[in-house]
Symmetry: D2
Subunit: 216 residues, 4 copies
């Protein structure tokens, strides 16, 4: 079996759960064709996440990697287009670190584009009745940091990772119940969306052309 | 058995489904203690909805009535506090009518407050992990019109209706998939919320005090 | 000269200024035809505002009264359609009071509609290039309380007040600079808008019909 | 005198004015210390903007370049952090072109960071009471395209451009008056903000450290 690594993070920003890990762990062991999903939980910490990710890539040798992160306040499934080479933390991470305007990887490119077929995923999600958008920023916190590290490793030391990207998901309803006014999506909705993202990443080698940009 | 009437509307504004009716029809026949739910679909038309509602109240003699409506763009379950005596339609209804600044019921009060225990419902929803808010406006379209008519009938010709109110719900995910950027909640989440609203309306006779107002 | 009373509030909710009073005081003494504006500052307190307003109505005998309030987070000039008979304070007012689900005036109507020609004002504002909307809720804090008291006094003890209403305005830019992500409008923009609201209230006796409602 | 080039665009997306050009042209000839501003209007067209910009850089040999663009729907002054190497047009540009997922410059880096001191600008804007944020995406339309081209030219053929970046601004009030619900800022507010951005770009050689990132 080929492996698909799906990661989620531990809770952060005062939350007791992280929807990304709730989704990822329910996909552990799920199979699609000749691929099987392995789920791993990552620390929400700038200093620890690179080693954690490097370790899993070495141990599991996945062909596809999808990191999932919580985006509290977003309304739907965000297929991230690009990771940028900067950390600018508005709050401290789970280890108390708060880097400001430091590169994720010194001397490395300003950005890496996702290698997931995000337009094909977007099309399939919408056809399946699942709300999604392509996003042009994953922020400047641990999510973007992890996404950048993942793509950097896939370009340098772990070239067997053929597809690598990041998906942001909204709060779960139980989180939104404590944040009045926040949008949310049910766990089942998110699991269904991730399955389609995984399947599409396995099946589609050349992404489709579909207008899904932003005016600003 | 005592009856709880739960209504939803037919689709409007270009939609092929209405989440309010999707929720309501799945609650038809559901029982809580000595009460049973009867679901009915209402027309999305200023001219037709009063007769339709009057007919159901006469035929079913419900003790509790909860009308449910679609609020595309809202993020969570909205417990409407008040119905106001004005129609001001931004678009035409399903019969092509577009009243502007006309009273719902000429000569009747400027507004009616809900008689659902909305604060107790809010508390129970949040404790159950379901996102909700008290809303201070149901708009000025067919939803507010229906809410106002319901409360007017309960105050005048159908005084056996002890509790009557309106709940707005967001798009379903399949609708949000066609409206990029719109929040949504899964059908199961909405059904769970409505069950709690019904149960609480049956069980709570005097609403609790809970700050859930708006600064503006 | 006939008098137009324009009120603003003292700062609240941690602010050091209130845009409503900043606008109102700059209109003090402004004349339009046979009318002159008198500006007064109101306390942001449930317990004190009724006496303050009653005192000014008695002392000034205005023909038109426009109360203005800050709506931090709103994007444009909100012409309030209706005041509702409930206080439900999410935060304490400037005297430390936080009433929950109490009537503004016990035994009085559930709501009062504005008697300002809000649709004519809306049309003139837009034609003048000033962003505005009709709003169907003034919230449940001191603004709505004041609006309700104003209309109640105009219906009972101060029947010489022919037009009375409430206008919510956004933050000033200097406030938004301290609340990243908040919309704002410049003081000059707000003053221009209020002048049009005053002039229109003087000139238009029967409001126009213009669709400006909300679907929900 | 050293030159600061400030550009704005022609109107697009159905608008009759573009706030970016309205601001830019009012800054033409403005002097700060030993620098003078030259304003130029750019076409809103993927195919034409590179030559137009190249021409101005050659003709004017500016030391600093700030391109300004309209971001209808944003609430404040957006200091763009990064330009990305992709065109993904949701609508056609003014020449009818709608590139999808094409590089801005084939073979060039995935992204360029701004060389404006955006954190110092942010701090000064806020201290001056002007609402602003650092933005991590300039979209994927002509604005991002222009920003990318600008930075690419400054890195390759026009190395005399020491500072180059992009600032997005909201609608003007007169535009928001035609787009109900949209935020806006007055022209004077925007001009004041741009002056500070220009002065800071002239005066600050090493940007300050100030947390202004996004969690997602």
């Amino acid at each position: 079996m080929k492996r698909v690594l799906v990661t989620g993070f531990e809770p952060f920003d005062g939350e007791s759960i992280n929807p990304a890990w709730e989704v990822a762990r329910r996909l552990d062991g799920w199979r699609s064709g000749s691929h099987a999903v392995v789920a791993r939980r990552l620390p929400c910490a700038f200093g620890a996440v690179r080693d954690a990710l490097d370790h899993e890539l070495t141990a599991l040798a996945p062909e596809i990697v999808i990191c999932v992160g919580q985006a509290g306040g977003r309304v739907d499934v965000s297929l991230e287009r690009i990771a940028i080479n900067v950390d600018d933390a508005r709050i401290a991470d789970n280890d108390g670190a708060q880097p400001i305007d430091r590169p994720v990887v010194a001397g490395a490119p300003a950005a890496y584009f996702t290698t997931l077929p995000v337009k094909a995923i977007l099309q399939r999600l919408r056809r399946a009745g699942l709300p999604a958008q392509v996003s042009n920023t994953a922020g400047t916190f641990v999510c973007n940091h992890t996404f950048y590290v993942l793509r950097h490793l896939a370009e340098t030391t772990h070239r067997g990772v053929h597809r690598a990207g990041f998906i942001h998901i909204p709060y779960l309803p139980e989180q939104a119940a404590r944040h009045p006014g926040s949008p949310s999506l049910a766990l089942d909705t998110l699991i269904a969306a991730l399955r389609i993202a995984i399947e599409t990443s396995i099946e589609v080698s050349d992404d489709i052309q579909l207008a899904a940009g932003a005016l600003h």
